[in-house]
Every structure is written in structure tokens, then in C-alpha cells.
Symmetry: C2
Subunit: 339 residues, 2 copies
């Protein structure tokens, strides 16, 4: 499938859905739309060999060749739709492309887009629209035979999705029958399955995760649940807590970005000292399903190799557990602890 990815003015640092798709999705990316870096190529910004290269163009009209879908690859705080993207979505539907979006604002509910999609016989997939038959958790996710690992974080955008995907792939390479439980738009697009838990009714958040764990737990030996947000996040902690108790994990992997000291976008809220974050997760998990932080994942993308190594050693010492940057150094260092 040939796709274009919209990431205006936020590529690559604040376009985590776009980067996740470039890295992991089974798509051929024809172009990234970013009016700010147009003319560059993806490889100019992301050196990671797993990220596929593609031209960056200013708008949908600059995408050449056949195109199956436009994917919205950015997710602003609040999940709204930027009117400056309208021409690109209109252009995509006008040439018969499907549109895939993980925004809280459902494109399907937009009169113009719905009409265009009908006229040109294409689909709008609002990834963040959860099933309508969710219900409360029964507190039974731990009944599955599979081991359940959950990635948790000190903040949003610290590598929970990336770490989860990398752990699943590394486990499979070792012959473990592992599966990802996607809880956010990027993971759902990559896996073509999952429930956007941050969009569920709050009473059903844990239940949504429980449903996925029980559905996949029968067929696999290891489930890695993609965490969301942070338990100390002023806005998103409800989602984090619902996942922690709904998944009933056996083990936790703490994801952090090297050097980040405050909650992104909420700078007056410092990230507590890491041992305190670890205790919070473990103490909160315990009454429902005891789980320890057994490994750390550190995003060191802004450091050079020497500093990255040093930061990881320090992180491992602080956590008293093995740690790695899965993109930079793979997951070998932490896989034993996780399995």
C-alpha cells in the first residue's frame, strides 16, 4: 500500500505517529507532507536504518505516482484538526485516496470530508474511534497464560510504543511467541488492530485493555502492552492508571527520555526523581497485580554516542535494572529481564 504521511511543521521531532509508521508499518511511504522541511528527504532528518526514506513535499499535490492513502501523522495536544490541513485531506479524497486519522476529532464527522469520500468511493478510518460495546473490567486479565509486560513512562513521547514493538520483535527472534497489544493510534495503524484507550469512556478504560489482553493472551506466550502517558501526568494519568490495572502486568519497563526534567507541554510539573516514579508504578500496581520495573528504556536520540552510553549506564544504576536505548543499541540488554 502506498501512503503519504501528513506531518506539517512537526517533522520529525513532534511527529511521533509519522516516525512510527516510517519505522514499523508495512506501508510504502510515497512522501511526507511538511511545508517546513519540504525539499529535504526523511533520511536527512532520521538516520536510523529501520526508517524508510521518502521525499518531503509541501502538500498533497506534490506527491507523485499512485497513492492509496493519506495518513495524518501528527497528534496535537487535545487531538483537534488544524484547518491548515484541510486542502491536503480534500486533495487526497479528491484523487480517490483513503484517509487514516488518529485525531480525537473524527474526520468521518466532517461534512465536507464525508461527502468527498462518498463521491470518490474512498474510506475514512478514524483510528481513535473505539468499539461501542466496551464495558467495565472484570479484573481478570491475569487469568491468561501468557506473560504480560507493560511499558510505562515518565511522560508522553518517551518511547513506550517503540520499546514495545522492538521487544516483541526481539522476543520473536529468540523463538518466543510474542504479540503487541496496541493502545494508541500509531500502534493500531502499525498492527491494523487495537483499541485507542485514551478515547474510551473512562469507566471502561481498564476493561478495554483487559479485553485485548484476554483476546490475544490465549494465542501467545508473551504480550507486550503499549503504555500511554505517565502516572504523574496532570492531564493523562487516568489513561495510564486504567492501562496499568486493566492489563494486570507481570513486569514493567520504564521508558524515559535522557535529560527530560519536566512534563512536555506542562513545564511547571517536574518529573519526580526516577526512583520515586518507579515506586509509584509498583505501589499502584500491587493491589491489583504485583509488578516490578525490571528494565529501563532510554531515548537518547539527542545525545552523541559517548553521552548516550553514559546516560544509559546511569539510568540502569538508578533503576537497579538493565537498560538500553532500543533504537540505538537494540533490546538485547533488557530482553532477558523482560522474558
Amino acid at each position: 500500500m502506498n501512503v503519504a504521511i501528513l506531518a506539517h511543521e512537526q517533522f520529525p521531532d513532534r511527529a511521533k505517529t509519522a516516525v512510527g509508521i516510517l519505522r514499523y508499518a508495512d506501508y510504502d511511504v510515497a512522501a511526507v507532507l511538511d511545508r517546513e522541511t519540504a525539499g529535504d528527504r526523511v533520511a536527512d532528518h532520521l538516520a536510523d536504518e529501520r526508517v524508510q526514506d521518502a521525499p518531503i513535499v509541501a502538500g498533497i499535490d506534490g506527491v507523485e505516482g499512485p497513492l492509496d492513502a493519506l495518513v495524518i501523522g501528527i497528534a496535537p495536544i487535545g487531538g483537534g484538526f488544524e484547518e491548515s490541513w484541510r486542502a491536503d485531506v480534500r486533495g487526497a479524497l479528491g484523487r480517490g485516496c483513503d484517509v487514516v486519522s488518529g485525531l480525537h476529532y473524527f474526520l468521518e464527522s466532517d461534512e465536507e470530508f464525508r461527502t468527498l469520500a462518498a463521491e470518490h468511493d474512498c474510506d475514512i478510518w478514524d483510528v481513535r474511534n473505539p468499539p461501542d460495546d466496551l464495558t467495565v473490567s472484570a479484573g481478570r486479565a491475569a487469568d491468561v497464560d501468557a506473560d504480560v509486560v507493560l511499558t510505562v513512562g515518565t511522560d508522553c513521547s518517551t518511547g513506550k510504543m517503540t520499546t514495545s514493538v522492538e521487544l516483541v520483535e526481539a522476543a520473536r527472534e529468540r523463538g518466543v511467541d510474542a504479540a503487541l497489544i496496541p493502545t494508541g493510534q500509531t500502534g493500531i495503524i502499525v498492527e491494523d488492530w487495537g483499541i485507542p484507550v485514551d478515547r474510551t469512556v473512562s469507566d471502561f478504560t481498564a476493561g478495554a485493555v483487559e479485553r485485548m489482553v484476554r483476546e490475544r493472551g490465549a494465542d501467545h506466550d508473551l504480550l507486550v502492552v503499549e503504555g500511554q502517558g505517565s502516572i504523574t501526568h496532570p492531564a493523562y494519568s487516568a489513561v495510564t492508571c486504567g492501562i496499568l490495572h486493566g492489563a494486570m502486568p507481570d513486569r514493567l519497563v520504564l521508558c524515559h527520555e535522557a535529560g527530560r526534567e519536566a512534563i512536555h507541554g506542562y513545564e511547571s510539573f517536574p518529573i519526580p526523581p526516577l526512583p520515586q516514579v518507579v515506586s509509584l508504578y509498583e505501589d499502584l500496581a500491587a493491589p491489583v497485580s504485583a509488578a516490578d520495573v525490571v528494565a529501563g528504556s532510554l531515548n537518547t536520540s539527542h545525545l552523541d554516542d559517548g553521552d548516550a552510553n553514559e546516560a544509559i549506564v546511569e539510568y540502569a544504576t538508578t533503576l537497579d535494572a538493565p537498560a538500553t536505548d532500543p533504537i540505538r543499541f537494540g533490546t538485547d540488554e533488557i530482553l532477558d529481564a523482560v522474558l
Copy 2:
């Protein structure tokens, strides 16, 4: 306004909305519908002088005199609609009564009820339907000048709503300009205002509470936020966590039922030792807005006076804070700590 309250097979012990309305709402209750205790009176089951008395009848046809509304006074786990209640709702709409419901299942979406309501010119108020313009928290509830107190619990149905209402009333009697922030169906019906936070999109749960705190915080000196669920509840902790961080409280009041040892309906999950529950709430609050448990509220309705006194003394000792049963002994014991 004359109302009937539906509470089939659950009155009074598992009918907390019904009891809350009988105790606090500005309604004249014409009857309670309960096919199990039909023939009794409310006063046969609830001796509390604040609870208004009313006959208990088996169904809507047994309610005499003029009637303005039928209120669904029970909320089963999951919030579904029991088909055995259909005849009563149909009967109420058929005689021109409004219907008020706090179920997750919206009666407005029920074809038969919607048609009947239109035919008989009456309203269906689905209390649990939140505003559609909610968004993420900005982490700014603490900006309000008012002091913010939050009731938290060891489980559902431990007296958070009751304690909140009683504290507001007692504070007003002392001349403090206090207001309730209702977060659940009973409080919303009683106050005729509020947001059902357990029905919000989980990303917006904290934001919904923040909106209410900021809206009322400008006009009052003390806000008492009605908590929900428990931070150790396998199904509902997401809601609890969202309220804790969205409200950014200054002080917490821990609500517990004397003798309850496990989560109701989830009996394989013991309630942790109380000091551990206190630490969990305080440690989880701290990174967003530091708050201590300054008082305890103990539901002793199943104990005799002597045992109740003893249980409260023990509870206060365990919490190292003043405690009371607000229904039995009022809130004088804890009000100083809360103000």
C-alpha cells in the same frame, strides 16, 4: 417536583442513588419502586431523620397522585439497562412523566422511550451524558483561590458523595462559602449541575474536573469535590486518578466502610491496609498537587452505636487524623481539619 424512584431488588443497601436522592435532593418523593420490599415504607429500612419517608410499591402503576418524573435510582456494575424495568419507564412516559437516568445506557437512544417521550411531550434526562466540548486538562485547577478538598475512598459506595454533601452543608453553617463539585449521577441530580466524569473520554477525565473546579472556584472559598471509585479498584481506578490530578486538591478525606475487607463485586482483590491506601493517594497526588489525608469518614451503618464509636476511634488512630461517620455523628469532628 414529585418523583418516583426506581430501585428494584436493591433497596436500600445497593441503591445509593435512590438513598442519596431521598436524603439530599429537593424533590418530593411520591414512592420508591421495589418489587422486593413493596408494601414497606422507606422509614422501615432507613431510620436516618434526613431521609424522607415514602411508600414502597411494586411498580409505576402503584404510584398514586400527580407525578412529574421517574428517577432511575440504581446503577448496576456496567451501567446497563435491565429489561425488567421497561414496563415502569414505559408507564412513566405514558402518563407524561419525565425520566431521569444516570445509566451508561442512554434512555434517549432507546427507540421506544424516545418515541413515547415525544408522544407525551416529556423529557428524558440522561444525567451521564457529558458535554461534548470537553478537552484535556491544562493542569491549572490549583490556580483557583478557593481551597479544594477531595473525598477519596477505599472502594466504591463508601460514602464519598454523602461525605462531600455533608461537609459542604456543615461548612456553610459555619459561615464558609462552600460549594460541591458533583462528579457522579447522584450528586448531579441533587445539585442539578455537574459532569459525570466516569463517562468522559479518558483523555479528558482530568480536564472535566478541572473545568468544574475553575468554573466554581472563582465564586466560592471552599470546594468539596466528590470523588469516585478507588485508586486500588481493578475497574474504576482510571476515573479516581483522573479526578485526583484534575482537581489538584489541597486536602483529602478518606472514606471507608467499617469492616469492608475486599473490593465490592471483585472479592478476590483485598483492600490494602489503610495506611498503604493513604500513602498511595498522597504519593500519587504529590507530583501534580501535594495533598494529605487530613480526615476520615467511616460508614458504620451496619454497626450498633457502641461498635460504631469503637470503629471510628480505631479508624482515626489508624489514619492519625480525626474521623467520623457523617450520617451518624455529623461532621463536627472533622470539619476543622478540612477547613
